[in-house]
């Protein structure tokens, strides 16, 4: 006699949830689904910095700290890139278009022995990365999304973009990076989220 074990929990008849394509594809990391909208996630009030006071800095283990004002920052060579982004809350958005300054440009000429960086933002948010994950055309500091100035809800005026890692690493309202010899866990990394956050290895939480 064949036993049929019902492993399904409770199912809500007819409930589909928001549109999500569970497409198995080389572009979609494990456990993710593709969405058409752009969800807004927020851990606090939206900062509204005055652009005439705004700066982006590189500080810490560096011979000469660097700082750009808004005007200086906007005068730097910029790129428009199209990337897929993956949020640890399981949504992925494909072919997103951003314009900004490559971290390689910002780190050009920087003398430092540091291997790690803590990214810091208005409002107190931080996230940590190995410097390797910020260089080699892997990270940008962006001010436009989809051809429009970056909206405050999505991190404007300027956010970090590190698309090869989970999107919590792409700090909104970014103001700079601190170069460090040792890695310091940031806002989410110090409370359960993975230190590195590689979506292709599904590194969501501690111990993954």
């Amino acid at each position: 006699m064949a036993w049929k074990v019902d492993l399904m929990g409770f199912i809500s008849r007819g409930f589909r949830g928001k549109r999500r394509d569970n497409v198995s594809s080389a572009r979609v990391p494990p456990g993710q689904h593709v969405v058409a909208d752009f969800p807004v996630l927020s851990a606090g009030p939206t900062p509204r910095p005055a652009l005439d006071e705004w700066t982006f800095s590189i500080v810490g283990e560096i011979d000469e700290p660097k700082r750009w004002t808004w005007k200086e920052f906007r005068a730097l060579p910029s790129e428009t890139v199209t990337k897929d982004i993956h949020c640890v809350t399981k949504w992925s958005k494909l072919d997103t278009s951003w314009k900004g300054v490559s971290m390689d440009t910002l780190l050009e000429g920087v003398e430092s022995a540091a291997d790690f960086a803590t990214v810091f933002s208005d409002g107190g948010y931080t996230t940590n990365l190995p410097l390797d994950d910020l260089t080699g055309s892997k990270a940008w500091v962006v001010y436009e999304f989809d051809g429009q100035p970056l909206h405050p809800e999505h991190g404007g005026p300027v956010r970090l973009l590190v698309p090869h890692l989970y999107f919590w690493k792409s700090a909104k309202w970014v103001r700079g990076i601190t170069l460090q010899n040792e890695e310091q866990p940031g806002f989410w990394e110090s409370n359960g989220y993975h230190m590195r956050g590689d979506p292709w290895r599904e590194q969501r939480y501690w111990g993954d």
């Binding site: 409770f10 199912i11 007819g14 409930f15 589909r16 949830g17």
Partner: protein
Amino acid sequence: MWQVAEVAELIPETPRVASLVLKVPDWPGHDAGQHVDVRLTAEDGYQAQRSYSIASPPEESRLAITVERLEDGEVSPYLVGEVKVGDRIELRGPIGGYFVWKAGDAHPLLLIAGGSGVVPLMAMLRHRSAAAAKPPARMLYSSRKLEDVIYKEELDRLAAAGDGLAVTHVLTRAQPPGWKGYARRIDREMVSDVAWPEEPAPLVFICGPTSFVETAGGLLVDLGYDPSWIKTERFGATGG
């Protein structure tokens, strides 16, 4: 913690709002103002969860929630539109001890509702209606248009009962011809007209979207109310 409830009845309230009356086998009872968390599970295991205030008073044996269907919502269009009598819904509760009013409290009651924020306050009024001793109560209820006013007939009836309840409606977007009530967003003058004097200290419950609740609370404090008299529940504009 999670229980399975059966939908016993669906009651349309306004074009976008309906009440779901539920049979919950092991319901422990609740207080007016509390809520339930509802959890929906799709066939692929995807889950979505939202909180809904309980509309029914503790005296009612069947639990009722009232849900507003939000245009781009994920859960509310299912609860108001797809769900049928006989369907089962997972929920847990009752939840919340802070935003609760119990009959027996003698302070004058001031209830301020923004849109679907009226739901937990309605549970309080229904509970008050069943109580022997009723403190004087006033409700200030802000809606966009007359057709959006939830529980309109019942509120009219409760206010006409002559037992110390007055309901003031505010229609912010559109008013019917001949409307003599408030037709603007909540402001200092309106709150000052409706609020109880500070002596004896009233008890205030404010519920609705975040900015509405914060505005109303701020206006009361400006008018001299002690913040400790005021309890708030902010819906945010999320969920749905």
